[in-house]
């Protein structure tokens, strides 16, 4: 019997029959093997339609991601060559040395020391070469090149389940704190310090760099840069990011965006950063609703006061039912594209849905758990209040 379960002479087990008396079906199993391999090859090719959008790592928009991709391409092709080589020898051996009817016992070869030594040395050289090259690359991507423009410092803090971005100096000494959407100027290194206020998260923007964990006990540093000559679209371009370390219930929903723009556009955004305007009556009413219900956790008038942040964090960590918790800074919400940590496009409709029932969109989120507003089962604001709030936050005139 060959590779396939087609019976030719009944089940294999005849007590004293020598096994080699059962003939093998050479042709059909060869044909079937070919079919199988074609299928696998087809699958391979189909899958190799490298998907380049979204979170794909196949496209690099900056030097760090590029270096990592270059390294990966080399090892990928090395792997592919080794794969075909070794699997090829395996399959060849299977075909060439299959048992023929009446075949005698083959020569009882025990080994070949020379072959062993050669097959030890060659892989060792290969892996060491790749390993040493990797080490050089590691150190190379550790810091921005010395001839780069002055880096922009961004402090990123991970929270369950959103990203906080702090720019200690976004330009002219202006401090900015925002959430879930990071803006960066193109062609300038971004020096990132990663922190966490609760559990371990991971900061990952595949098109710019590999990930680095956000650990509650120490600061992790990384950098990346978006290169205009690598981005083939017009700026501003928005890239995807996602938390890449299991951090609880809503880990899958902890996403963010990175918008790459010209330095001038970045400067305008930074200059315009400030509390939402209260020109209309609706906005004034909205401001009041916000002040009454939301300011325990959310800040809307600029960067969060450090003492306030600390007290929110303390409340969160010590537990308890209704305590203030760290929450995204909403100062520039009106300039953002997404809502709820990169979950959906921001619009009146989505913000309204969110305000009505956050748990529906993001199960486990702390706003539904801790805010007084949501403890009664449904949101304890009426439609006018919600409407006003939206108008205020989104600067709808």
């Amino acid at each position: 019997m060959g590779l396939l379960p087609f019976r030719r002479k009944g089940p294999l087990a005849k007590p004293s029959a020598s096994i080699s008396s059962v003939p093998t079906r050479r042709r059909s199993s060869l044909k079937n093997r070919t079919v199988l391999f074609s299928l696998m090859a087809a699958l391979f090719l189909f899958a190799t339609g490298c998907y380049k959008d979204g979170m794909s790592t196949w496209e690099a928009f900056g030097p760090v991601a590029q270096k990592q991709l270059d390294l990966f391409n080399v090892i990928l092709w090395t792997m592919v060559v080794v794969f075909f080589l070794v699997e090829g020898v395996l399959v060849y051996a299977m075909i060439r040395y299959r048992r023929r009817p009446g075949q005698e016992r083959p020569p009882q070869i025990h080994g070949n020391t020379t072959l062993e030594v050669v097959l030890t040395i060659i892989p060792t050289i290969l892996v060491l070469a790749l390993g040493i090259w990797s080490v050089f690359a590691l150190f190379e991507i550790d810091k921005p090149p010395s001839d780069s423009p002055t880096p922009l410092q961004v402090n990123v803090t991970g929270h369950q389940w959103w990203f906080e971005f702090e720019y200690p100096d976004a330009g002219n000494g202006k401090k900015i704190i925002t959430a879930n959407e990071m803006r960066i100027p193109v062609d300038r290194p971004i020096q990132i310090s990663l922190f966490s206020d609760d559990v371990i998260h991971s900061f990952w923007v595949p098109k710019l760099a590999g990930k680095l964990d956000m650990v509650p006990t120490h600061e992790n540093k990384m950098w990346f840069q978006a290169d205009s000559n690598k981005i083939d679209e017009d700026l501003p371009v928005t890239l995807f990011g996602q938390c890449a370390e299991l951090c609880g219930l809503a880990h899958a929903l902890m996403r963010f965006r990175v918008t790459v723009m010209e330095q001038a556009d970045f400067d305008s955004w930074a200059a315009a950063y400030g509390p939402p305007p209260t020109v209309t009556d609706k906005a004034k009413k909205g401001a009041q609703v916000f002040a009454t219900n939301c300011t325990l956790c959310h800040t809307v008038d600029g960067p969060d006061d450090p003492a306030l942040s600390a007290s929110r964090l303390k409340g969160f960590l010590t537990g308890g039912d209704i305590t203030p918790v760290p929450a995204p800074n909403l100062t520039d919400l009106r300039t953002r594209q997404t809502l709820a940590a990169g979950m959906m496009e921001l619009s009146e409709t989505t913000l309204s849905a969110w305000l009505h029932d956050p748990a529906e969109i993001k199960p486990g989120n702390y706003m539904s758990e801790k805010a007084v507003l949501y403890q009664g089962g449904s949101v304890s604001l009426d439609e006018d209040e919600i409407d006003a709030l939206i108008g205020y936050l989104l600067d709808l005139r």
Binding site: A13, L90, E116, L119, V199
Partner: protein
């Protein structure tokens, strides 16, 4: 001498449920481990099914986020600790004493104890389902997500204490096998004449006894943090969650070699049999196993490349991880060398073994790509890793286990599993496995993180996920086929003691083996002893067609059954259970354990019989 042997008389027979509960026979314990492992395989497989069905579509809401986290946590925890490890131990139990020409392991009652503690520990962890407080922080449960206030219910306590109990079982079992292999080899069987499977058992057992204490400490510290007020991994009080990661992975990396070496041992037995020539490069395969065992302690932080240890630490582990690919490569080359110029017969067992090599090459290569740490920064925590680990654990360990099952089944039962169903089984697994896990390489490189219960359509991951979920269905059918095969084999025809014309000593005795294994302890002259004996007999014109003749079992003094192992195991499990409910139960468990140890100590290994 009967003195304090307890209230109950010592069991004497093999019969019935009581016979199974009190058995100290390694062959029966192997069956216990094997059946238990298989049941957990089905459970963990269903958990995987839930995961795959949820991920088959973007923005799916088949199950909640919380339930999803439980499913992948339990899937992995069960597969690692309650499927692959006990399957391996099942093989150790059945094969090793037979392969080294021994009558049983060095400590038969300790052997039984290991099984019962394992079973009770596994059950203990699954009680979490009954109280709906299921572990949900992933199979390596990173602190400080596992601490309060982030994991408040007892799920993580079930996880930690279940593992502590099962860890004790693993260590007890491994201690037994180390002594058995070193000290119970038949005369003439030097270390370099041991079958490779026995070598791999030895290395795995040494790894087990050295690695488990490390995670034991981690689990103790986690349990103390969660229940006794310490702050080992709590940042606010100065603790460092990264310490958990180090403790876990110092255990965790040797653990993955614990998971794969037995399967490599099985393949090393199957290949020579069905190529009809000896294993190519025996010393090199042995030495590469030893080297892997030693080097496996030097690579753990490659699981932590993205933690921020710094480029110096990352460089060191990049190099060590790269280097450990070399001994694995040597094994693969030697397996191919065994096929070379051989006479290959494609039995089901051989096909699974070949499938192991084919798929392990893929898993090993993707592993090497992880070693390149800068690229690992993109791959870590994505489905690219999930692809790698399933190729080595499913394509590796599970395929190896199936090869072993089909190979040694006739020795265990005297009957053959159906080759027809077996080959169907193989193809469904091979195709299903590749369909499920190959797309995951692409998913990972396309940016899909692990452990997410849902994803948006805009990322373009849906097609590959669909493919993977389809592959699961094929795997599901594959396991049904296997069950059918097992079932129908009950009534299949008897086969000879040596249906494969195999080289190992275990094939020289009757199938199923008599309780005493060997009537006469064999004298070993070289590697592949049974081939040597058969060749000599053939050359002399009197070929060996019969197994070693059976003798009256009472004439050979074997260890007697005992209820102390299951009794003591219950005590140990109660200690753990009490920590999850009321401490009084732990004290009761402690008392029972004490009683068990004393009763055991006063009971001789073998009951005095009339002949003595």
């Amino acid at each position: 001498m009967a003195a304090i042997t307890g209230v109950l008389a010592r069991p004497t027979s093999y019969a019935g449920v009581w016979g199974w509960m009190t058995t100290v026979d390694h062959k029966r314990i192997a069956v216990l481990y094997g059946v238990t492992a298989f049941i957990f395989l089905l459970i963990a497989g269903l958990e995987a099914g839930v995961v795959r069905m949820q991920l088959a579509s973007a923005d799916n809401d088949l199950i909640s986020a919380g339930r999803f986290n439980q499913m992948f946590t339990m899937h992995a925890t069960v597969m690692v600790f309650m499927v692959i490890m006990p399957l391996s131990v099942s093989f150790f139990n059945f094969v090793v004493p037979l392969a080294i020409g021994a009558r049983d392991v060095a400590f038969p009652r300790l052997n039984a104890l290991s099984y019962w503690i394992f079973l009770f520990g596994a059950v203990l962890m699954h009680i979490s389902f009954l109280v709906n407080e299921v572990p949900d922080a992933g199979w390596f449960s990173y602190a400080n997500l596992t601490e309060k206030p982030f994991s408040i219910n007892r799920g993580l306590d079930f996880w930690a204490i279940g593992l502590l109990v099962m860890g004790a079982a693993s260590v007890a079992g491994a201690l037994n096998f180390v002594v058995t292999i070193i000290n119970l080899r038949a005369p003439g069987m030097s270390m370099m004449r041991m079958p490779v499977f026995v070598w791999m058992t030895l290395i795995t057992s040494i790894l087990l006894v050295l690695a488990f204490p490390v995670i034991t400490v981690g689990l103790i510290e986690l349990t103390m943090d969660r229940n006794f007020g310490t702050h080992f991994f709590i940042p606010a009080e100065g603790g460092d969650p990264i310490l958990w990661q180090h403790l876990f992975w110092v255990f965790g990396h040797p653990e993955v070699y614990i998971l794969i070496l037995p399967a490599m041992g099985i393949v090393s037995e199957v290949f020579p049999t069905f190529s009809r020539k000896p294993l190519f490069g025996y010393p090199f395969i042995v030495f590469s196993g030893i080297v892997i065992g030693i080097m496996g302690w030097a690579v753990w932080s490659h699981h932590m490349f993205t933690v921020g240890l710094g480029p110096v630490a990352n460089s060191v582990f990049t190099i060590t991880t790269m280097l450990i690919a070399v001994p694995t490569g040597i094994k693969i080359f030697n397996w191919i060398g065994t096929l070379w110029k051989g006479s290959i017969e494609f039995t089901t067992s051989m096909m699974f073994a070949l499938g192991f090599v084919a798929l392990f090459i893929v898993g090993g290569l993707s592993g090497v790509s992880h070693a390149v740490s800068p690229s690992d920064f993109q791959q870590q925590d994505t489905y690219y890793i999930v692809a790698h680990l399933h190729y080595v654990l499913f394509g590796g360990s599970i395929m190896g286990a199936f090869a072993g099952i089909y190979y040694w089944y006739p020795k265990l039962t005297g009957k053959m599993l159906s080759e027809t169903l077996g080959k169907l089984n193989f193809w469904f697994i091979f195709i299903g496995m590749n369909l499920t896990f190959f797309p995951m390489h692409y998913l990972g490189l396309n940016g899909m993180p692990r452990r997410i219960y849902t994803y948006s359509a805009e990322f373009g991951w849906e097609n590959m996920n669909r493919l993977a979920s389809l592959g699961y269905v094929i795997l599901f059918v594959a396991f049904l086929i296997f069950i059918v095969n097992l079932w129908q084999a009950r009534n299949s025809r008897r086969v000879s003691h040596d249906p494969w014309d195999a080289p190992g000593l275990e094939w020289s005795i009757a199938s199923p083996p008599p309780p005493y294994n060997f009537a006469e302890i064999p004298q070993v002259e070289g590697l592949d002893q049974y081939w040597i004996a058969k060749e000599r007999a053939r050359a002399a014109g009197t070929p060996l067609t019969e197994p070693e003749a059976l003798v009256d079992p009472d004439s050979i003094h074997m260890p007697s059954p005992s209820y102390w192992p299951i009794f003591t195991a219950a005590g140990v499990a109660l200690i753990g259970g009490g920590l999850l409910s009321h401490y009084a139960i732990s004290f009761l468990g402690g008392a029972i354990t004490m009683m068990g140890v004393i009763g055991w100590g006063n009971e001789p290994a073998a009951a005095p019989s009339e002949h003595h």
